[in-house]
Subunit: 175 residues, 2 copies
């Protein structure tokens, strides 16, 4: 049976990255629900378009068992992450990622996704692909220079430009 995916979108989110996952899941009959890493379902793409996603991250907490996999949709919120790390939506995001990781569910993402996964010790000893600027920040995982990496339950692409190389494997794992 096809698996169900929780897709996180930071605010602002890179729409090119986000919709590569969403349209791929849609076309392959994989069910998903989108969650804003924000207080509100109304978020922006990097490019300024307003998006209404399905729900907010706070409402995913405690419902992780309803999903088989998590996608981290990276975006221009992340360069300012340090200033906003204490916000409840970011705390909720980390808690949710940790719960998915602790239960051995699939963690999928690009760009700074591996940095978020690493910060809750979800990739200990595992290889990840990550944005070159985020590479030095990886503490417990093994950040490579590859376009994408798949190591156990961790699927990471270096940037939104390399997600397409990883997508066939993501779709295979979720079908």
């Amino acid at each position: 049976m096809a698996k169900k995916v929780a897709v996180l979108a930071v605010n602002p989110v890179n729409g090119f990255g986000l919709f590569q996952y969403l349209e791929g899941f849609f076309e392959n009959g994989i069910s998903y629900k989108t969650f804003a890493v924000a207080d509100n379902k109304e978020i922006k793409a990097n490019s300024g378009i307003t998006l209404f996603v399905d729900d907010v991250i706070a409402n995913l907490k405690g419902h992780e068992d309803e999903y088989d996999a998590l996608v981290f949709g990276c975006g221009d919120a992340i360069p300012q992450y340090g200033e906003n790390a204490g916000k409840s939506y970011n705390q909720d995001m980390l808690a949710v990622i940790k719960t998915f990781a602790d239960k051995g569910k699939l963690l999928i993402g690009h760009c700074a996704a591996g940095m978020m996964f690493d910060s809750v010790e979800a990739i200990n000893g595992k290889k990840i692909a990550v944005h070159p600027l985020a590479k030095p920040a990886i503490k417990n995982g093994v950040a490579t220079d590859e376009k994408f990496e798949i190591d156990g339950n961790i699927y990471t692409a270096q940037t939104e430009n390399t997600i397409w190389m990883m997508m066939p494997e993501v779709l295979k794992a979720l079908k």
Copy 2:
């Protein structure tokens, strides 16, 4: 000086295709305005996410001179295009494409874009890449099996999956 682009989004639109253009323009300092091919600025991605774009196609009519290029953002509206061809927003879309073509501005798009361009005789004798299902419908252009084609002012990609191959040339033309 960087050029200004009018980006059309049908309803529903393939978000993966649409945001490849938008995030690429955003990251390269190319200005753009998005127009729904609909009566309303609120449209859907194929994958179900609600998008608010900047304006509607009716308001682009008569303002074509403010732009240097047009992007046709294809989507799941197109398989039903025949049933809706008489709707004012589709008539406006064709009128706008024809005006851009008559003025020799750049026409850019993927999937069924070439079919729309062809229907207003914008690609006469020119090579286009187009979705295989739309290929037999091309009358005045030369539909190839290539992943993308650039012929004069016409930039076409076969599907949203091959836009990335064409984007460096699109960005070069728009900078």
